[in-house]
Amino acid sequence: MKQYLLSIYQPSDSPPPPPEMLDPIMRRIHELQTDMKDAGVLMFTGGLHPPSTATVVRATPAEMLITDGPFIEGKEHLGGFLIIQVADLDQALAWAKKLAAIVLTLSIEVRPFQNVGA
């Protein structure tokens, strides 16, 4: 089995959709997560607060720097992620497609984890 990180990227400059649009989306994401749990696929999932809430920590030999985040200001940012465990990339992509169909037009990045035991 392999583990994959499914990252949901969303635009930084547009406000989140109003509740009447967002609520059904969140409900469907929740249903998908339930399906993933039932299939024994879901390892972890979480949505993130906006990048403006981030703090960056960086050490140099001289000092420990703590700055207001985010680390990278981008046109898009990581909005949330899931970690799934499946047999291969095709299965990971199949779940990613289901997620993409719910969050319509947002990009889902699928990345394999290193060194997961067989």
Binding site: D88, L89, D90
Partner: protein, 406 residues
């Protein structure tokens, strides 16, 4: 026994490479080990065949020997973590050659892996030519006019992604087969086109990529005989190929289809292409490649340009627009409309789907304008086309057309 020249051994290995790597990838569980094993078999063939002559079945010998060498390597490296999956292949004697159907599945699996949608197009092309076609990276680089290091890096990266991202070595599920097959067809046609668009100076060196693409098409048809679009793609390549020699004249100038010497078309290729189209017609499951091939077939069937059945061609373009409505298809459909309904009608249709950065769009537009009697507008359109043309042969052709208007 007759000794065998190195060149003949190389030729046989080139032809058998994709098949052997496909089988070995299943046996070894990864592409790198499979390639290494086939390379080992090649080194052994260079010694044995050169001394003792060809074995009764070179094809079987290559796979069997590669499996032996893979097992040898596995034994030498057995202390390392388990990397192979030779479950039953314990001794050399226990190796039995696989059923031909299993080998076919291996070849299909490797094709679908090379053309996996998670790989970029340039990686799909390089990987397909390297692993299925058995071309060396230097040959691929030469054909695509890029540095060898670029191709080598693409192949290495693509193989690393297949390994690390867990791209499965599998024929897609029936639900995904159509879409995934389209990717394979697109890669083969891209390879073909790369060799076809080569200008006069590079004709000889790059035509070989087209030959390779047709070989891939034939292999794919053997593997998936029921897929009508595979028939269509092969027919399209054969029919295009039949005109290769006549597309450019003795002084390297572009010759339009209407002006080509039809006696010099390759009639063996045309006959084969037309036969494939008849089969497509019989199956009646038209797709974009079949329709494009059917359009080419209409051109090839005509005794001369004037005898071309443009109504039939327009009808095929109508179908193509319904299935794959791209601006390029719309543009080519306008050309058929010009012949059937006249240039004024065609100009209106053409302008509905503008392709402002494509030289051919402006060249076709110029031609329509000229036929409408708008010489000045035609000159301006040729100017646009000349600016955008991407090789010297095309540019010279357009300049000559433009000069005739002044």
């Amino acid at each position: 026994m007759n000794s065998v020249a190195r060149a003949s051994i190389e030729k046989i290995f080139r032809e058998e490479y994709g098949r052997a790597v496909a089988v070995l990838t299943r046996k070894c569980g990864n592409i790198d080990d499979a390639q290494e094993a086939v390379q080992d078999a090649f080194a052994e063939a260079l010694q044995r065949w050169a001394a003792n002559g060809l074995p009764p079945s070179p094809r079987g010998w290559i796979v069997t020997t590669a499996i032996h060498r893979a097992i040898d390597r596995h034994r030498r490296e057995a202390t390392r973590e388990q990397r192979y999956s030779f479950a039953a292949a314990d001794t050399h004697d226990s190796i039995e050659l696989d059923e031909e159907s299993a080998v076919r599945d291996d070849q299909l699996r490797l094709m679908f892996t090379c053309c996996h949608p998670s790989l970029g197009t340039s990686a799909q092309v390089a990987l397909t030519l390297r692993l299925i076609g058995g071309l060396e990276t230097a040959e691929i680089a030469h054909a695509f006019l890029v540095p060898e290091a670029t191709i080598a890096q693409r192949v290495v990266r693509a193989k690393a992604k297949i390994r690390d991202a867990g791209v499965p070595y599998r024929v897609p599920q029936p639900a995904d087969l159509g879409e995934r097959l389209n990717a394979v067809l697109a890669v083969i046609y891209l390879i073909y086109s790369e060799g076809y668009k080569a200008s006069a100076g590079e004709q000889l060196t790059r035509a070989s990529v087209s030959t390779e693409a047709m070989r891939l098409g034939r292999t794919l048809l053997e593997l998936l005989p029921n897929e009508a679009e595979v028939l269509g793609l092969l027919a399209l390549m054969l029919l295009n190929e039949s005109r290769r020699e006549t597309r450019v004249n003795a002084v390297g100038e572009l010759v339009l289809l209407a002006d080509q010497d039809r006696n010099r078309w390759n009639h063996t290729l045309i006959a084969e292409g037309l036969l494939l189209i008849e089969e497509c017609r019989r199956r009646n499951r038209w797709g974009p490649y079949q329709l494009q091939a059917a359009i080419a077939a209409e051109h090839m069937r005509a005794a001369d340009a004037a005898a071309t059945d443009w109504s039939a061609i327009k009808a095929y373009y109508d179908q193509l627009m319904a299935l794959a409505p791209t601006p390029i298809v719309a543009m080519n459909r306008a050309v058929a409309i010009a012949e059937v309904d006249g240039p004024t009608e065609a100009l209106g249709v053409l302008d509905q789907h503008p392709l402002p950065s494509f030289y051919l769009f402006h060249a076709i537009r110029a031609d329509f304008l000229q036929r409408c009697g708008r010489a000045q507008d035609a000159v301006a359109a040729y100017d646009e086309a000349i600016c955008l043309a991407d090789n010297a042969v095309e540019r010279d052709f357009l300049k000559r057309k433009r000069a005739r208007l002044l």
